[in-house]
Symmetry: C2
Subunit: 129 residues, 2 copies
DNA sequence: CTGAATCCCTGCCGATACTG
DNA sequence: CAGTATCGGCAGGGATTCAG
């Protein structure tokens, strides 16, 4: 069976790392860190939109019409706080705010790709109750 | 998967797949599929435990002492339903139930690894509000 | 235009108690 | 041993309204 066990290169292993021994969900677990960053409905769609390039508040609202102002604002604030997004206000009038991914946020690309790849695989036919 | 790159200069982000144009969170988006599978507190820890090998209900409870019976039961049922886990009852007495990852579930390894890797990176110092 | 404040409703998850 | 039943607290998120 080819499975990652003891004795692999200096790569942080998932089940083998000491930190992977946490007995409860805690912010010190890197997996929890990432899931916390992606937490919340619409979050990944906002990131996807910004992976295509910088956007303003209105542009994001236009791209995601079913997303309310409040939640969009919440998501953006959250993503800025965890260092995924960068906010650049425009002193002009009308006030425009541009959002873009930080380098750290851009590294979420491979993560979303991994999520995409697994979800695109056909699961075995589940039995319905 | 059709990967028509539409002139992303330096860093192509998410796949430029037609499905990536969804305007709202929907089960048809593969990213949502995966996040739905991983949804819920304790879920990734249960998977991590089973990445190390098959476990019974009690063994999982022992490995995650702060997890209540009900939630553990919920998580296991959910993961079985989405095709991540495989349940094998023992007709014997006392009744033992063995849980193990399906091939599909085992492919979550790289996904969790991607989540781990990003979360393990040092984010830029967050600005204070 | 870009957000913050408020209200309400829903679903999660923890605790406890009970069954095959 | 391996779950299900039930209840309650609390946070997430949608709609609306108001402010800078």
């Amino acid at each position: 069976m080819t499975h990652q066990t003891v004795g692999h290169p200096p790569r942080p292993g998932l089940p083998d790392d000491p930190l992977a021994s946490v007995g409860e969900p805690t912010p010190s677990c890197p997996v929890e860190v990432t899931l916390a960053a992606l937490r919340g409905r619409w979050t990944t769609l906002v990131i996807r939109e910004l992976l295509r390039g910088d956007r303003t508040f209105s542009e994001l609202r236009q791209a995601l019409p079913a997303l309310s102002d409040k939640v969009l604002s919440d998501r953006l604030a959250h993503l800025v706080q965890v260092g995924v997004l960068d906010r650049r206000r425009q002193a002009d009038w009308p006030p425009r705010t541009h959002y873009g991914l930080t380098p750290h946020g851009r590294r979420l690309g491979p993560v979303l790709q991994a999520l995409w790849d697994w979800g695109a695989q056909q699961p075995p036919p589940a039995s319905e109750p």
